[in-house]
Symmetry: C2
Subunit: 335 residues, 2 copies
Amino acid sequence: MNIYDIAELAGVSIATVSRVVNDSPKVSEKTKEKVRRIMEEHHYTPNVFARGLGLNSMKTVGIICPDVSDAYMASAVAHLEKSLRCYGYDCILYCSGYAYEDKVEAVSLILQKRIDALILVGSNYAGDGGDQATEYIRSAAREIPVFLLNGYVRAPEVYCILADNYQAVYDAVTDLIEDGRKRILFLHDSTSYSALEKLRGYEEALGDNGFPVPDELKVFVRNNIEMVQSRLQEIFREKMPDFDAVVASDDGLAVGAVKYVRSKNLRIPEDVSIIGYNNSELSICCEPELSSIDSRGKELCETAVEYMMHYLSGHPIRHKKVVPCRLVKRNTTNF
Amino acid sequence: MNIYDIAELAGVSIATVSRVVNDSPKVSEKTKEKVRRIMEEHHYTPNVFARGLGLNSMKTVGIICPDVSDAYMASAVAHLEKSLRCYGYDCILYCSGYAYEDKVEAVSLILQKRIDALILVGSNYAGDGGDQATEYIRSAAREIPVFLLNGYVRAPEVYCILADNYQAVYDAVTDLIEDGRKRILFLHDSTSYSALEKLRGYEEALGDNGFPVPDELKVFVRNNIEMVQSRLQEIFREKMPDFDAVVASDDGLAVGAVKYVRSKNLRIPEDVSIIGYNNSELSICCEPELSSIDSRGKELCETAVEYMMHYLSGHPIRHKKVVPCRLVKRNTTNF
DNA sequence: CTGAAAGCGCTAACAG
DNA sequence: CTGTTAGCGCTTTCAG
């Protein structure tokens, strides 16, 4: 059943049917009514390929993330998909993995699909922002608009929607200091843009409060509960851990810290105060429940899609938009 | 840059270029080489819309799941995407939500995209298998092959790939009984096909071992850690909980049970043995770590995609394929 | 307000 | 092995 069939049945030309499908204002209500009825009756649906060919668009946006099975990204993809659908856009999903070559490959492949826009989820794509490492993003942006969710690359046609991770960590660390903590451990697992921002928040908060920033308190470790435990075990050996607070760049890391601290029979938060990141399910699963910085995934996603729609309808938009985070207090902090 | 440009530059006809693009065997290596070089040089990529129009396929499969932000589904989507990509297929993702009307709508919308096949993730789509409730699936299957991941609907062109949830629960309960447990609580949160299978495994294992199946030990509760705690609190009030084991149909439920049991100062697993489901991150996050039934999401997904490819290349396939589960023992059981 | 006709870029049947 | 040509189903001028 195609447009010709409908045209014939309705006794009009295919042009008219096309206009009806696209709800063009220059068709009389009467004709519209008639054509629509026929379409309904015959369950006609326009062929998206043909339409795509003509319009050079299928109202589809590409979403690339390193790994949807990661809770944070899964949630982001869910929010993005939902928002996009509200505007009538479909999503094609590509999980690229974390390796540089794979990311480049992912972008290159997805561009061939002639998507209307591309969203890169997570700051892994921006890397540390080095020009070389982000050339593939700039290059993609020469073909279609690219939106970075929680990443930052300064280039034409790339639009960045970011959580204010710097400020969030800065504030958290400051709160801890005001609470009397002297030795604040920072757990991180990445050198992505947002990871670096978090680190900067940690360092500057310490500095601004007159504290040194000792290297041994910044521990870089894979985001895996057991790994964190054994890493801390290894660092502090037999001697008692000499930190009284932990700020982690992800809840998984924080849970590892919780487990380690408890295994040393220290009290949380009395002896050590712990703050996680992302306010994920993990944060209410462990014992005691984690305080956690909520990076506002939902707002970020909705903002990104709104921006995109604005852009796609021909309006100019800013290159960077920052959304504030929010600390969710639970049982691992006492302020 | 289209096929005509390339043809002209290479001094051949568009048919030849097309053949080269599709790696047809009936082009001389020499010509192929020449055309390929030109294509490379000019960064030519075939227009997928035009190709789609001609072939009536864009090598794309639709994936619908109620909610990708759910850990189990996220992981499934990740595995599916990866496997599909290996075969050169793209994924368009649709999160339908759990409501019946929304699921019907999702299927109907995604069919309009002329996907090559449809995958429905999770047994929510099969519902309790009632004919009425699954008509939309049968109907979709009349247009394209439909694959149910962990759901079951008996109908032509719908193919079901299932974890053996019945057996898994049956075995777990039997193990608990052999360990001397007398009052085994069953926590569930759904009436989907697989949920029902789990329940059946529980009931039959009890029955086959000469135990009664008391209604008060089957508790149906929303999958939310706090909800489970307060629900159990409400059921057992001031009196001591009188169960000595728990089998949950999801790790989230099991974590709720762990928290409840610990709040009553009972020992795990000595006083109560607890088994979760899905072997998710939650299971190693709580204290003590959960034993959990691994429903083999990865194998399920890979099997599904293999099946699909087999089908798409014209071979007949079976309507149902069952993958066994596996109990991962950790600290909440002592057998 | 409506219709005729020219593409959009590619595939595949047919002819050589 | 290669070229010609007729669609695929829709959008969009351009005329009327």
